[in-house]
Symmetry: C2
């Protein structure tokens, strides 16, 4: 096990009816900016619950944060924070709204030339404007971590940011919000959290037994509950397990003391930036070819995953590892997610070269747990995913 630091101070408030208790978590006299997305919270009743709970606070609203939170939109929200003297941010939404709120938390206290620096210069925020979240879509884990990914349409870029000051002070996780989420987004949440775990697990053995068991436990849970989550009928138990799985998949715990990969995300982000493909689906597109291309360096962990998660006990390490890749693709397909780029766009020629060029330009010359994936290798992996 590698040395590590772990601190995650976010307070999780989990369960049905907990949105009612929102006011207890926000400082008295706070002036709150309520941030949300495209307005689905107004249709599904969450907006009403939240505003009812906030009736003793001065609240300003900012809606319209898009999926893949857009820099230009967030800069509008930043103006509101400054002109309205906002002191507390409340994100009501999924990963995009929460990520956007993290950017605003950092930007609100940033003193440099332009907040764009935070993204391009990788400026870590030690203490941002305080914020909490009401999670409406389990998937990204953003509700219990300190990272965010922001998109800038103007330059077709998607960049990451973070820092110890960007943990939500609290996050309310009410599994009943899942009732009104479209199946497409639930499938995305399943694929997203599944891939989050894989990125922190599918590297090389380092004998971190707890981290491995926890990662495997989340994967097993997601596989087990996926059919129930995608059923027409709402199931509170499955919804609870789904919501907690997504949070545990990316709250820092399973990545401590182990090597991590994240190359699938790096490549996937480009597919979203280029074609607007849902984030989770881009991960499903890249996963199989990434694991096949890096088979030799990942096969021991793939075989462990085969045994413990898929119960594949026959065959050599290579056999098990290969079968586990196939099982992973089958899992994505079973939840209605296509795994080839050509199933999403017919205009895919040149994509691999373009992504490789972008990585070269950014100086991303060695991705993955061995920092060995050069832009040339990235090009091959993306091509295999056509």
């Amino acid at each position: 096990m590698n040395n590590f630091n772990f601190k995650n101070p976010t307070k999780i408030i989990f369960g049905k009816g907990e949105i009612e208790n929102l006011a207890n978590e926000i400082p008295e006299n706070a002036k709150v900016l309520l941030l949300y997305g495209g307005g689905s919270i107004k249709k599904n009743g969450i907006y009403n619950k939240v505003t009812a709970a906030l009736n003793n606070f001065e609240v300003v609203e900012f809606g319209g944060i898009p999926a893949n939170p857009e820099y230009a939109v967030l800069m509008e929200a930043l103006k509101v924070i400054k002109t309205e003297n906002i002191t507390y941010l409340l994100a009501v939404g999924g990963g995009s709204v929460i990520d956007g709120t993290k950017f605003l938390s950092a930007a609100a206290v940033y003193n440099g030339d332009t907040p764009w620096d935070i993204l391009t210069q990788n400026i870590r925020t030690e203490k941002g404007m305080p914020f909490g979240t009401v999670l409406t879509l389990p998937a990204t884990g953003s509700e219990m971590n300190s990272g965010a990914v922001i998109t800038r349409e103007e330059t077709k870029e998607k960049l990451a940011m973070g820092g110890p000051g960007l943990f939500p002070e609290f996050s309310i996780l009410d599994p009943e919000v899942i009732k009104s989420i479209p199946k497409r987004q639930l499938a995305n949440g399943l694929a997203d959290s599944f891939t989050h775990v894989l990125e922190q697990y599918m590297t090389y053995p380092i004998d971190a037994k707890i981290q491995d068991r926890f990662a495997e436990g989340i994967l097993q849970t997601l596989i087990e509950i996926a059919p129930t989550i995608l059923n027409e009928e709402f199931d509170y138990k499955a919804a609870s397990n789904f919501m907690w799985s997504c949070t545990m998949a990316l709250n820092g715990l399973i990545q401590k003391g182990v090597p991590t990969d994240w190359a699938v995300h790096a490549m996937g982000h480009e597919l979203t930036a280029l074609y607007g493909i849902d984030h989770a689906r881009t991960l499903a597109i890249i996963t199989e070819s990434h694991y096949k291309y890096n088979f030799e360096s990942k096969k021991e962990k793939l075989a462990q995953y085969a045994e413990r998660v898929w119960n594949i006990t026959e065959g050599s390490i290579d056999d098990k590892a290969y079968e586990a890749i196939e099982k992973t693709t089958e899992f994505f397909k079973s939840i209605g997610i296509n795994t080839k780029l050509s199933e999403y766009t017919s205009d895919y020629e040149g994509t691999a070269e373009e992504i490789a060029k972008r990585f070269t330009n950014r100086g991303w010359l060695g991705l993955g747990e061995h920092q060995s994936l050069s832009p040339e290798k990235v090009e091959k992996i993306v091509k295999m995913a056509y």
Copy 2:
């Protein structure tokens, strides 16, 4: 899954060499009370590492906190805190020193008649004197939770306390400290953490899949590493997994959203109070008879544990459940821990009646996950453990 709140703000600093970085975690100008136990840290070099790291701080020392931290001794330390105007506490030790430090953190800010109230009136500390820990003995999990158990020899009592203000600000976990720990104490740590997990897991099914998988993962890890931990030769990898298992076993995570038992601890504490038997060993004494006595209400979870942890796949639920109890006893024996009270004392007659009487006097009329274990039942369970 039940509704729950989870917040654990302790910063974990994990790995070899990390004690050197201690000074970064303590506020400048702090006046530190360095608390430790019987002095083993002076023999194994940890004391020297700690004092070297603290050379820029004003430090007062208080050694001699005994296993089962004793109220009378802690009251002496409290005097030192007051007369020396201490502002920061640093526990260097195992669960006893850390638990004692938590009591002091609470007592230092308590304004009532006597700090004994904190224990007898269950006063929760919202904000104690800040403290950090350097863990020297993995076992209790106290390094990442907000609870403590304090003993008072005068009245032969052992009482629990806690509160959200009693999380360590940081805990340094260097697996190399395990090198110098006597085998007896390592065996205790294995049994203690194993039982901590069981208390939060071996109840009735509530379909909290992540919590179950995590609990099972810790149990599997402890079983897997136990022989290596008890070997003569030090193994850093096993030590790391052991240390992290003990912390994860009782940092609150696996108990959230699920019913918990803790009756084994309640009975075990009395055996320590009455006979001075090591805490972990009292748990091993009670476990088998507790699970046999409560077989009907626990058998579904026992069977799940049989399948997933012990790989027992044949037979009925009852068969598997029963075999899992036997396996648990075998595990304790395999690490050199006896599981019957008569193996520790010949003077055991009347113990069950005495414990039942104490529970009646304290008004503890219904222990366990169903709050159904009356003092009469406790008497029977303890008798079965003779």
